[in-house]
């Protein structure tokens, strides 16, 4: 899920990604987070790892499932010093449809967060903060 204007700005370098190759757009234009998949046991991980965390075999980078469900959440009212964005922000732990666990920001969250566990979400991109006069975009989830 990506706003067309944001995609245009990313394409023209007006917005930069928070980290290189943390997300990609698939052939349908859908935002997919980039993780690792084991070449032997197929275990997946996000963010990418050096080798399989379950069986220590080599891994390939893969585009992860673009949908999942919220396992749990919190709202951060006091962020770490290294966080360059504002507070509050909502964090969710999501189990993607391919079983990969991802902790990330939730945007456009529903009003009553007590109903957040089990919420269906879609991976996407949003501007998180500005740094050195440039907008920085990162991977986030949106309710489906």
């Amino acid at each position: 899920m990506i706003d067309p204007n944001l995609r245009d700005d990313l394409d023209h370098g007006l917005v930069r990604p928070i980290l290189p190759d943390i997300f990609r757009l698939d052939e349908m234009g859908t935002v997919r987070f980039v993780g690792s998949e084991c070449t032997r046991c197929r275990a997946r991980a996000f963010p990418v790892v050096f080798q399989c965390q379950r069986c220590q075999s080599p891994v390939n980078s893969v585009m992860l499932a673009d949908t999942g469900r919220v396992d749990t959440y919190t709202v951060v009212r006091q962020g770490p010093q290294e966080w360059k964005g504002g507070v509050p922000y909502t964090l969710v732990r999501v189990i993607l449809d391919d079983e990969t666990m991802v902790v990330g920001h939730l945007h456009d969250s529903p009003g009553d967060l007590d109903n957040c566990p089990g919420l269906k979400v879609q991976s996407g991109i949003a501007v998180l903060y500005e740094e050195d006069g440039q907008r920085v975009a990162g991977p986030v989830f949106f309710p489906r």
Partner: protein
């Protein structure tokens, strides 16, 4: 062979801007050595537990103590550093590499939420995920959704531990709080309010570990043993409870006891939900019943299994490198029946200490009289 604990000592916790970590460590170490009535030149090795004090802080402490020349091992394992240092010092004794080991845990903390953990320029750092209250906030909301744990039950952990801390002269915060005060304090990471989070404190603690053979030569006192210990990390696919559960089982097995034998515990209550989950992980109650365990009074000072009689991390304080060592000091005082107004009832014989920390580490000790 068993490892004996022959001396303990602490510098009180608090904010000490004019006191260096070396002074804190010196005070705690001297108290432990005085408590054990051992000569300084009998100490074979120093284990120094710290996370934020820079390179070779242990060697500086050794020099201050006049111990320069003996092996010094610096230990960093996040919030579990102190317990890990004790576990490793015991391994030296059990391997016959030392008869008398001094473990000193010390820390001076910055203000605000603990930041800068983990490697910079990573996904977690860039996205603002490395903030401990948020990790526990997510655990709390999962526990609430899965088991119906209530906000009041979480607040009761804070009320209990602040009550205990008010009785402890070395605690950072010695003020009782009410459920209403806990729940109405500033929200830090939903549903955790400020009074459900440990403070950032300065402090130091020290423990003297001794071989059986050497203990026979020392001044007779209550025989306290480090009966078993274990350290662990999260495995792939684990949820956050598994590492403490698995590590506790290994420590119980090493000690030849089970949770049904435990008289009291000091556990990692950095955030209230943590203590509720640790009741379950340490085997004190069934999974999902941690909230009821505190609500029904079991873990209070007057309960059948007091937890955190020191006031815990929330009231005594949580100088990271100190905490695991301070927990052992507390249970030794309790087992010796020297804990004053916070002394647990009866004649406690088996105590457990537990710490866990960033990146999924855990450490557990079983200490017996």
């Amino acid at each position: 062979m068993q490892v004996r604990i022959v001396g303990v000592g602490m510098h009180r916790c608090g904010r000490f801007p004019d006191v260096s970590y070396r002074q804190l460590a010196f005070t705690a170490a001297k108290k432990a050595v005085d408590d054990g009535q051992v000569a300084w030149d009998q100490i074979d090795v120093l284990f120094a537990s710290h996370t934020l004090q820079g390179i070779s802080a242990g060697a500086q402490v050794a020099r201050d103590l006049g111990l320069a020349g003996i092996p010094v091992v610096n230990v960093e394992n996040a919030c579990a550093s102190g317990t890990t240092a004790i576990h490793e010092a015991a391994a030296w004794i059990l391997a016959g590499r030392a008869d008398l080991a001094l473990v000193v845990g010390f820390e001076k903390m910055g203000r605000g939420v603990i930041s800068g953990i983990g490697e910079p320029e990573t996904y977690e750092a860039k996205m603002g995920l490395n903030v401990m209250p948020s990790l526990y906030g997510m655990m709390a909301n999962k526990h609430r959704a899965r088991y119906g744990t209530t906000l009041k039950q979480m607040a009761l952990v804070s009320v209990k531990n602040h009550h205990n801390g008010a009785l402890n002269p070395i605690a950072h915060f010695r003020k009782e709080v009410t459920v209403d005060e806990v729940l109405s304090s500033r929200m830090v990471a939903d549903p955790l309010t400020l009074l459900q989070c440990c403070p950032t404190s300065d402090g130091a603690a020290a423990v003297l570990l001794c071989s059986d053979r050497k203990a026979r030569d020392l001044v007779a006192g209550p025989s306290i043993s480090l009966a078993g210990s274990a350290i662990g990390t999260m495995a792939y696919g684990d949820d956050e409870s598994m590492v403490s559960r698995r590590t506790a089982l290994r420590a119980y097995e090493a000690a030849g006891v089970g949770p049904e034998d435990v008289s009291l515990a000091e556990c990692h209550d950095a955030f209230t939900i943590g203590e509720i989950m640790h009741y379950e992980e340490l085997g004190f109650c069934r999974e999902g019943e941690g909230g009821l365990f505190v609500e029904q009074g079991h873990s209070w000072l007057t309960g059948d299994l007091p937890v955190n009689p020191s006031g815990g991390l929330e009231s005594r304080g949580h100088p990271l490198g100190m905490t695991g060592v301070a927990q052992v000091c507390e249970v030794v005082w309790q087992l010796r029946q020297q804990a004053g107004p916070r002394q647990v009832a009866g004649r406690p014989r088996v105590a457990v200490t537990h710490t866990q920390g960033y990146a999924g580490v855990a450490a557990v000790t079983v200490i017996t009289r």
